[in-house]
């Protein structure tokens, strides 16, 4: 049986050679990430040694500096990032779940056009909105606040989140809602009491991906905040601008930034592909 299925593969050999190539791809994919993590636990001496050392006695001094309470602590930046990402997730999921529900359950005038329009906004380069947004938020005196990033991230992520959740809603049988409607629930009650609980795995997955996107974001954070609110990616970029390059410290910050995505990537395998390809595969 196995050999038959291999013969009818779409034109690519499935032998040990291809398994070997997959392994090479794997090493290539993970090497820079592993290298950052290794650098973060190397002492300065070990970092500068030639040839590069792979196995060294771990040195966690940079973690002590950044995760401690001293002057160079990264905790305030981590807190900013966490708060902004969490609020973005909260807002995005509420707003997008309503929109996704409408797209999934109702046939209304222009429903397809509105859906395509929403996806089209995802295609626009967000950087093209920087100048007018900056002027707008300067006028409103909101620059350098957490709010400005939360509201921008929410708007940028709505199309992605809506698309993803629509797919999850589409998988829930309508009959359940119809019987709830017959029992006297109104639209909002049906959404929050019947559909949402059923869609909760999908909503959880969407939340996590929205959180990661907000946590990872650099460009808007770099441009719209300066002194009061700096996120951890901005802090990382700053350390590079300084005179001397402290690899260990930078690698430590980079590791902290990568951590949520690494953990989630591992535990969310099931939803990973769906989330990444959201809106691009029918």
């Amino acid at each position: 049986m196995k050999s038959i299925s291999q013969n009818i593969s779409p034109g690519i050999p499935t032998n040990s050679v291809s398994k070997g190539i997959v392994m090479i791809l794997l090493v290539f994919s993970l090497l820079p990430i592993i290298w950052i993590i290794l650098t973060s636990i190397k002492s300065e001496q070990a970092i500068f040694s030639i040839p590069p050392k792979v196995f060294v006695a771990p040195d966690f001094s940079a973690y002590k500096i950044f995760l401690g309470l001293g002057n160079n602590s990264a905790i305030p930046f981590i807190w900013n990032s966490l708060f902004i990402a969490a609020m973005t997730t909260f807002l995005t999921v509420i707003v997008s779940s309503l929109a996704a529900y409408a797209f999934s359950r109702y046939r209304f005038k222009w429903s397809n056009h509105l859906l395509i329009l929403m996806l089209a906004t995802r295609l626009l380069p967000p950087v093209t909105a920087v100048v007018p947004l900056y002027l707008m938020f300067r006028y409103l005196d909101l620059l350098d606040t957490k709010f400005v990033l939360i509201i921008i991230y929410t708007a940028v992520e709505i199309p992605f989140a809506t698309w993803l959740m629509k797919a999850f809603f589409d998988g829930i049988p309508r009959e359940l809602e119809e019987s709830a409607a017959l029992d006297g629930c109104n639209a909002l009650q049906i959404i929050y009491k019947i559909t949402m609980p059923l869609a909760s795995p999908g909503i959880a997955a969407t939340s996590i991906f929205v959180f990661i996107l907000a946590w990872n974001e650099f460009m808007f954070a770099f441009m719209f905040t300066s002194i009061n609110v700096r996120t951890i990616p901005v802090r990382l970029a700053e350390t590079i601008g300084e005179m001397q390059v402290y690899w260990q410290e930078m690698a430590t910050l980079a590791t902290v930034i990568m951590l949520p995505a690494l953990i989630i990537g591992f535990f969310m395998q099931k939803y990973l592909v769906r989330a990444i390809t959201a809106g691009s595969v029918k």
Binding site: P125, V131, A181
Partner: protein, 300 residues
């Protein structure tokens, strides 16, 4: 009490409900994305420097004329963006297709492998950009270590324009090929096995099966993934920023960084807006071309 039942049922069916549900999302999109983009058009027709005491003035297409005719930086950035987009997309297409086919061929462990191969796409670009900066470093980098190991000279990757271009290209290809791979893999798994069985029975060899059957069938998802990637290339920011900050000079500067520099360093609102409009226009054109292509392939 009994009366409320049919009433609520009607409420659900009411025509207004879907629009009410959509309104918060669209309100946000309009205020934060659509309105600024329209306002941007207006700004691009102004001569307005934030630092100058002269009030803003309507100058028509002057900003665009200056940009296209007299601006060496804009030319540099356009050249870089064009070269960068073509080279990365080409490499991502080849590697993505190849690895999707390899992953499809895996009988066991496909999902585990997939999630490992996806890691570069999940983690923050700014963080992996730093990792690559470490890899490309002249003295400490693994790349130069390898070059010396095989008997070649060290290259100062991030300080010279050609090596810097390739360093950015490879880092970006590394980061975003998983996206192409995933979409192609999804496309491959959605094909029915019978078609390959039929080809097998008809005596097609692997090469023929691939070019005559598989490739045409995965063209639509391929076109879509490449459209997304082309559009993502236009907005690339984090990786060039952390690797070279656009340098040396402006030789590896993407449009986003030029907008940033024009606005935040030279305070030239009109010019920054004009660059944004040009970028937006390119994005829309690319999207339209690919939509056309994927529709053509689907119907033919």
């Amino acid at each position: 009490m009994k009366n409320s039942r049919p009433f609520n049922f009607l409420l659900l069916k009411k025509k207004l409900t879907p629009y009410l549900l959509l309104s918060p999302a669209f309100l946000l999109l309009i205020v934060i994305l659509v309105y600024p983009l329209i306002y941007n058009f207006y700004l691009s027709f102004l001569k307005w420097r934030l630092t100058s005491p002269v009030p803003s003035k309507f100058v028509g297409f002057e900003n665009y004329v200056n940009l296209f005719l007299y601006d060496p930086d804009f030319l540099d950035v356009s050249k870089f963006s064009l070269g960068f987009t073509i080279v990365t997309i080409f490499m991502e297409f080849i590697i993505g297709l190849f690895s999707a086919l390899l992953l499809y061929g895996l009988v066991r462990g496909r999902r585990l492998m997939t999630s490992f191969l996806l890691t570069p796409y999940m983690v923050a670009p700014i963080a992996v950009g730093l990792g690559w900066r470490l890899m490309w470093d002249r003295d400490l980098g693994l790349v130069n270590f390898f070059l010396v190991f095989i008997g070649l000279d060290k290259i100062n990757w991030l300080a010279e324009s050609m090596p810097a271009f390739w360093a950015i290209v490879i880092s970006e290809v590394w980061r975003s090929t998983p996206f192409v791979t995933m979409i192609l893999l999804a496309g491959l798994t959605s094909l029915s096995n019978e078609i390959f069985e039929a080809a097998h029975i008809d005596g097609a060899n692997r090469w023929q099966t691939f070019w005559k059957i598989t490739f045409p069938l995965i063209l639509p998802p391929l076109a879509v993934s490449l459209m997304f990637q082309t559009i993502f290339k236009l907005r690339v920011f984090d990786i060039p920023f952390i690797l070279t900050e656009g340098g040396p000079g402006t030789s590896t500067m993407p449009y986003g960084m030029l907008i940033h520099r024009t606005y935040f360093k030279y305070f030239d609102v009109g010019k920054a807006a004009a660059i944004s409009v040009v970028l937006l226009f390119i994005g829309i054109v690319v999207a339209m071309i690919y939509v056309k292509i994927s529709k053509m392939k689907q119907t033919s």
